[in-house]
């Protein structure tokens, strides 16, 4: 019971800075009261309760599921199977991502149909799938992550110099948009689980980094798409 209160209190603390900022700017800087206070208070209560439940669910379900998968893959020792999983999860989760749907539709409008929203989403999803698969390979091989990052950085730079100006901002933003609140914990647990079940790998050094891969590769695929189409 005490643990529940602690967890709940933590959720309250997590939301406090946001409330402080909104209150400060509304009352002190703008100097107005809120247009609909009861509605806002109800919203805040829901946000806190929701965050609390989410964190419980994370511990009870999402982390154990990701770890269980990682152990099963490691036990089976079939790398192709692991990569198939990485591709499947990266692709499907990204295609369904609500934020990406919005951004892709905006991008289609901007370019006057030069970029197709659906193709763009496929391009991003393909990028994420490649990224997570590449990240899994890195965990298995135990390579330092910054080698991959330097490589990615050089490729992004080279593509930036060739890509149409209008697509650059979009491509840079898209890395941050693709990874959702459900995918991130599962993929993180998968990486850490893999690193802990392969001997000689350190969960901190080798286990983390999958999200970073998933954020980097879509930049590359989107810019390639932009260069090809425009």
């Amino acid at each position: 019971m005490k643990y529940f209160f602690q967890l709940f209190f933590r959720s309250v603390m997590d939301v406090t800075p946001l409330l402080a900022v909104i209150f400060f700017f509304q009352f002190v800087v703008i100097g107005e009261s809120f247009p609909n206070t009861p509605r806002m208070l109800a919203g805040i209560a829901l946000v806190i309760t929701g965050l609390f439940l989410f964190m419980r669910g994370l511990e009870m379900a999402l982390f154990p599921l990701g770890e269980s998968l990682a152990y099963s893959f490691a036990k089976k020792g079939d790398i192709k199977l692991l990569l198939a999983f990485a591709v499947a999860i990266g692709y499907t989760a990204t295609m369904a991502e609500p934020a990406l749907i919005v951004v892709a539709e905006k991008a289609e409008k901007i370019t006057g149909g030069g970029l197709q929203a659906f193709t763009l989403r496929n391009t991003v999803a393909g990028g994420v799938a490649i990224g997570i698969a590449l990240g899994c390979i890195r965990i298995i091989l135990g390579h330092p992550i910054h080698y991959y990052f330097i490589g990615g950085y050089v490729v992004v730079m080279a593509l930036t110099s060739m890509a149409p100006t209008r697509i650059i901002g979009l491509a840079y933003d898209i890395g941050g948009v693709t990874t959702s609140t459900v995918t991130v914990p599962l993929v993180t647990a998968l990486g850490v689980g893999l690193a802990s079940s392969i001997s000689g790998r350190n969960p901190l050094i080798d286990g983390f980094g999958l999200v970073a891969f998933a954020a980097m590769t879509p930049m590359v695929t989107v810019m390639i798409y932009g260069i090809v189409v425009m």
């Binding site: 997590d14 800075p17 946001l18 900022v21 909104i22 700017f25 509304q26 800087v29 703008i30 609909n36 509605r39 806002m40 109800a42 919203g43 805040i44 829901l46 929701g50 965050l51 439940l53 989410f54 964190m55 669910g57 994370l58 379900a61 154990p64 599921l65 269980s68 099963s72 199977l81 999983f85 499947a88 999860i89 499907t92 989760a93 991502e97 609500p98 934020a99 330092p144 910054h146 950085y153 930036t160 650059i168 901002g169 840079y172 941050g176 948009v177 990874t179 959702s180 609140t181 459900v182 995918t183 991130v184 914990p185 993180t188 647990a189 350190n202 901190l204 050094i205 983390f208 980094g209």
Partner: protein, 245 residues
């Protein structure tokens, strides 16, 4: 009724978020790997809590936080009071990141894996500070109209340089933090600020300059997390040297 719209829209978006991930994961677990799930009941209960939590969280944001936050973002997206705009970008970047569920998940895992050596709260503070600084710089860029890629590539260069000096344990985590900072809460508010600012600044194309703010929120956290780790390492090193004398 606006309420009904929100309730259905959020249900749909939570479903879209959870269903594909869960389906793929369960398919591989049971059909491909043919492995049993230990504690299946507890996991099922956990998923109910997760989905309900995510759903309540998003409804709460939609009725309580976003209307007021977006109105503010619009108000502060005028180039005439640049000081306030930058302060607002800084504060909102910090505050939304501290409450971002995906970041909470990653830092909690890091604390668990490092057996408490890395503190979730400190990591989140470093990341949130990075988003705050990143958004401030990004707002400044929109007002000056300098090309985006110069800033982003310079940011990556700094992050890579810091990688050289940072302890190895922190590097993957720092890179991850770039990707997790901007999801549920941050993106809608930041997008409103960026697009509004680009629309209100003469000579800016909202379609070209409005995008790109999220990229700042992805690059700068890498720098602050690495910077934090490097400075801690340096402090510890100097202390040890002092002890020996």
């Amino acid at each position: 009724m606006a309420e009904h719209g929100v309730i259905i829209k959020d249900m749909l978006s939570v479903f879209r978020d959870v269903a594909p991930v869960l389906l793929v994961a369960l398919f591989f677990q049971f059909a491909v790997l043919r492995a049993r799930l230990p504690n299946a009941r507890r996991i099922a209960g956990g998923f109910l809590a997760l989905v309900a939590g995510l759903y309540l969280f998003m409804i709460g944001l939609d009725i309580g936080i976003f209307p007021i936050g977006e109105a503010m973002a619009e108000k502060f997206s005028h180039p005439d009071h640049k000081g306030w705009t930058i302060l607002f970008a800084f504060c909102i970047g910090y505050a939304t990141t501290m409450a971002e569920p995906a970041l909470l998940a990653v830092t909690q895992k890091a604390e668990e894996v490092s057996s408490g050596g890395l503190k979730s709260f400190r990591l989140r503070n470093a990341v949130a500070l990075g988003v705050a600084v990143g958004l401030s710089v990004g707002v400044h860029r929109i007002s000056t109209g300098a090309p985006l890629w110069v800033y982003i590539m310079a940011g990556y260069a700094v992050a890579l340089t810091l990688t050289w000096f940072a302890p190895r344990e922190i590097v993957p985590l720092a890179y991850d933090s770039g990707g997790v900072t901007t999801s549920t809460i941050t993106v809608p508010l930041v997008a409103a600020l960026g697009l509004g600012l680009a629309a209100n600044t003469p000579g800016r194309d909202p379609l070209v300059d409005g995008f790109g703010l999220i990229a700042f929120a992805s690059v700068f956290p890498m720098i602050t997390v690495l910077g934090y780790a490097v400075s801690m390492k340096t402090i510890i090193m100097y202390r040890k040297r002092g002890d020996r004398k």
